[in-house]
Structure formats: C-alpha cells, structure tokens
Symmetry: C2
Subunit: 344 residues, 2 copies
C-alpha cells in the first residue's frame, strides 16, 4: 500500500517512513552524499524505487535557490527567426540540464518589460529579445533582470552580454551586391518603425549612401511579415526601383509572390533580396538572395553566455557580434534598362 502525503503525491517523507530512516537521510541518499551507510543507502534506494519516488522540483528549487530553468522573451513566436533562436537556446540549455520557459510578447512592447520580469523571477536567468522596447525602458529594467543576455540590443549596464547581428553591414553587403549587378535605383522595404534591428539597417543604408552617392536609395514603409511584402507591391512599382532590399526573408517572399501575381519576373524585371536566410529561403522560386545569419547558433551562444553568468564564471567575451554572410541566389540579377515609375 502506497502512503500519500497531504498533496496526494509521494514525498520524501513517504520513502523515509518506508525505509525506516529520517527524511534527511533520504535526501542525502538521493543527492549522492556518501556520508551514509551503504546498507542504509541501499534500503533507501529500494524504498524510493518501489514507491517510484521523484523529488518535487518546487521544494527543491526553494531549498536550493535555483530552478534549473531559464526564460526567453520573444516578440513573435510565429517568426522563424525567433523560432530558430528558441531552438538553439533550448537545445543548448538541455545539454546542461536546463529547461526553457517561453514568453511571447505578441509584438506589444508594453508587455515585454512585464513578461521579462515575471519570467526572470521564475527562472535562473533570462534571454531577452525585445526589439520594440525603448532604450530608456530597457536600461531601466535591465538591472533587475540579471543574469541576462540580450539579443540584438545593447545596454550600458555592466555584466550583460549582447548578441547582436550586424544588420547594418549585412544590408550594405546586399546593397553593394545589387549595385555590382548594375542597379542604380534601390528601395528599402523597411521593417516595423520602432524595431531596433530596423534602425541598424537604416544606419547601414545611410553609410552606404554616403559611400555610394551615385545610387539612389528610397525608403518604403513596411513591416516584418509575408503580408507586408505582398501589400507593398504597388509602392515598390511606384518607386521605380529595380533592386529591392526587403526587411527580411518573409517580406521578400511576400513581395516576390505579389510581383509574380502581377506578371513580373524576378530577377528579370526586379531583383529582390531578403535577410536572415530562413530555411525556406533556398526553396522559394526564384531562390532568395539574402544575408545569412547563423541564428540557431546565436541561440546556442546565448545559452553559453547565460550559463557563464549563472555559474558566475569569468567571461572574457561578454557578448559578440555576428556578421551576416551574403548568400547570393537567384532572386537577384542584372539590372535591366532603368524603369520608369509606372504600374506594371
């Protein structure tokens, strides 16, 4: 007959009774403390096995002051980029026996801070992807979130590693690629207005314009998903640009789809580039020229940095900067004669 504690689950007390020892001894045995008589240890183990005893992680967490869990805040679980970060993070953390708790902020920046705080309190550390949060708010909450790793954001606070992708450089590489193909009129289909990574891309484009005064770079309003790209067809055609730098691969795919519906050829009529190199980018038609970001690896790195923080290890490289790699595929090609600004 199986004894049951108040909660109905088997607890350390049950196995203590069954083995005829104190619950302290059971705890010692379960934790591999060798200061216990082998014979008693065996009896305890037998009792534990028979009762299928499994320590309650909540009680354990309270006593140990750690949860073996980390949190991650993402703005949109539907976005392949964050899915990849989550995957890399989860797998790396799992290797070290940590689990991950997810918090999806649905792109609403006001939620990000609250979710971050809540998640942090339940966990031993936090990975924060908060592209919409203002710098001021970020600085304000960062101290209360330690141990913390930031993705694509930086802070002045000490001891907070930042993993940032050099979107500025990536977009310049893409623009440079289009110019080499003979394009002289480019358009940037921007991301969400307050997005941090969009800001980095804009800075990159400013640098590019300064270095290449002969090419025109137009700014078009956009967003971060398929539909944004699809809906931008008119604006793109109106711009008269022959090379389009989409905010990311999703937008690029939506745009290509829209252009295709209008009977336009990519890259024959218009070249399109994306950003991120999500897995599907190589399967679009035409395959998508983009800037590849080792994003799963970034998630993995996030764990390594966070682990160092949790273990209070010396961390020689607090944070790192990832250089996107130009991935030239079939969606970009030679410019045809300059287009005039008309609808197809």
């Amino acid at each position: 007959m199986v004894r049951r504690s108040a909660t109905g689950r088997i607890g350390i007390a049950d196995v203590a009774v069954k083995a005829g020892v104190s619950h302290a001894t059971v705890s010692r045995v379960m934790n591999g403390n060798f200061t216990v008589d082998p014979e008693i240890a065996a009896r305890v183990r037998a009792a534990a096995a028979e009762l299928k005893y499994q320590p309650n992680p909540v009680g354990r967490s309270l006593a140990l002051g750690k949860t073996d869990t980390i949190g991650i805040v993402v703005p949109d679980l539907a976005n392949p980029t964050f899915q990849a970060i989550l995957r890399g993070l989860s797998r790396a953390a799992a290797q070290d026996g940590y689990r991950v708790l997810i918090a999806d902020s649905f792109e609403v920046s006001s939620e990000e801070a609250i979710l971050a705080g809540e998640a942090r309190r339940r966990c031993d550390g936090l990975v924060l992807c908060a592209p919409r949060m203002s710098d001021a708010e970020l600085e304000e909450i960062v101290p209360s979130l330690h141990p913390l790793v930031l993705i694509n954001r930086t802070t002045t606070a000490a001891g907070v590693p930042s993993l940032v992708v050099d979107y500025g450089q990536g977009v310049q590489d893409l623009a440079g690629h289009l110019v080499e193909l003979g394009h002289t009129r480019l358009a940037f289909l921007a991301g969400p207005p307050r997005s941090a990574s969009n800001g980095l891309r804009l800075e990159g484009l400013e640098a590019f314009k300064a270095a290449n005064p002969q090419v025109e770079v137009l700014m078009l309003e956009g967003g971060s998903d398929f539909d944004t790209g699809h809906d931008a067809v008119d604006a793109v055609l109106d711009s008269g640009a022959t090379g389009i730098l989409a905010f990311n691969d999703l937008v690029a795919m939506g745009l290509m789809s829209g252009l295709h519906e209008r009977g336009l050829d990519v890259p024959g009529d218009i070249s399109v580039t994306g950003f991120d190199d999500i897995p599907f980018a190589r399967y679009t038609t035409p395959t998508l020229t983009t800037a590849a970001v080792p994003i799963t690896e970034l998630g993995q790195q996030a764990w390594h940095q966070l682990r160092a923080l949790i273990r209070k290890e010396e961390n020689d490289a607090p944070g790192s900067r990832y250089q996107p790699r130009l991935e030239i595929r079939a969606s970009s090609g030679p410019a045809k004669a300059p287009r005039t600004a008309t609808h197809g």
Copy 2:
C-alpha cells in the same frame, strides 16, 4: 536603504518590517484579501511599491501547490507543425496567465517519457506530442502525467483528452483528388517508420486502395524533412508514379525542389501533394496542393482541454478529431500519358 533577505532579494519579510506589520498581513494585502484595514493595506502597498517587492513565485508555488505553468513535449522544435502547436498553446495559455515550459525530445523516443515526467513535475499539466513512443510505453506513463492532453495519440486511460488529426481521411482526400485528375499510379512517400501519424496515413491508404482497386498505390520509404524529399527523387522516378503523396509539406517541398533540379515540371510531369498546409505551402512554386490542418487552433484547443482538467471542470468533449481540408493549389494537375519507369 533597502533591506535584503538571506538570498539577496527583497522578500515578504522586508516589506513586513518596513510597513510595521507581520508578513502574514503583507501576504493578505498582496492577494487582495479584504479582511485587512484599508489604512494598513495602503501602508503595506506603499512599502511594497517602494521596495519594488515582487512575490517569489517558487515560494508561492510551494505554498499553493501550483505553478501556473504547463509543459509541452515536442519531438522536434524545428518542425513547423510543432512550432505552430506551441504557438497556439502558448498564446492561449498566456490569456489565462499560464506560461509554457518546452521540452524538445529531438525525435529520440526514449527521451520522450523521461522528459514528459520531468516537465510534468514542474508544471500543473502537460501537453504531449510523442509520435515515436510505443503504445505500450505510452499507456504506462500516461497515468503519472495527469492532467494531460495528447496530440495525435490516443490512450485507453480515462480523463485524458486526445486531439487527433484525421490523417487517414486527409490522405484519402488527396489521393482522391489525384485520381480525379486522371492519375492511376500513385506513390506515397512515407514518413518516419514508427511515427504514429504515418501509421494513420497508411491506414487511410489501405482504405483508399480497397475502395479504388483500379488505382495503384506504391509505398516509398521517406522521412519528415526537406532532405528526405529531396533525396527521394530517384525512388519517385523509378516508381513510375505520376501522383506523389508526400508525408508532409516539408517532404513535398524537398521533392519538388529535387524534381526541379532534374528539369522535371510539377505538375506537368508529376503531381505532388503535401500535408499540413504550413504557412510556406502557399508560397512555393508551384504553390502546394495539400491537406490543411488548423494546427495553431489545435494548440489552442489543447490549452482549453488542459485548463478544464486543471480546474477539474466537467469536460463534455474530452478530445476532438480534426478533419483536414483539401487545399488544392498548383502542384497537382492532370495526369499525362502513363510514364514508364525510367530516370528523367
């Protein structure tokens, strides 16, 4: 000057001291218990605010016997299907103030049971996607996992809702569609051998063969990802089939990509269908004919079922069956003259 408890974080004791009351009273105030003098309550709230006190969730969980967290076990976080389930689950659960803990079993079935148990103990409930686990093992662990919701698996145990997609019907619909287009020689590019949902598809195909004896349905070994589809080109061509039912959209996309490389036209030479209707299915070239599963909604439903279990509510509909909807796009077309079994 801020007081600090032993752990270094602000605790209920600190605000109790600051407000000049017992910690029991602080707890009452924080939990909206109205049996406390409004003036004292205000004092407590002021103290809490000043100290930026936030209750420690671990202590709270221990006292309340609940964590406000649910777990989900998925076989592969890189698979869009599970990403979608996770998304639907997470968003629905968040609406009710629950967070979700993820456990990725990496497709290794021996891990599934262990991860499930661990995750369950840390959470108030569990959603289990364990397509590779044997029926026997599933039955064995299910009782210890309650409250539990199963995805695409069923159990004889009572009180365990199952959310299953009718893959058998879906694959029959797809096969029927191809036959209507004049195809008489079909091939099924199967999923992982021990996959439960693959089994359902096979059953569906058996039923289909019985009902349509004039149609040949060949079985080809496969898997569940892009590469599987891509690598299956030879086998597909050897089969001489003109209509290919791929295990899922990923496999279908890989296959189409491979066929394209061989200079074959889809659907001109061969028709290809997928399964799931992942978001990218409508952006492939040609767009992919598939069986649409409302997968995000399934994740949401999983939460609703789990919530009912956690709240011990009456649940009139324990589990449900989802009928895939045929999504006819451009990757399927009229059969051309029967092909002979040769390489392209």
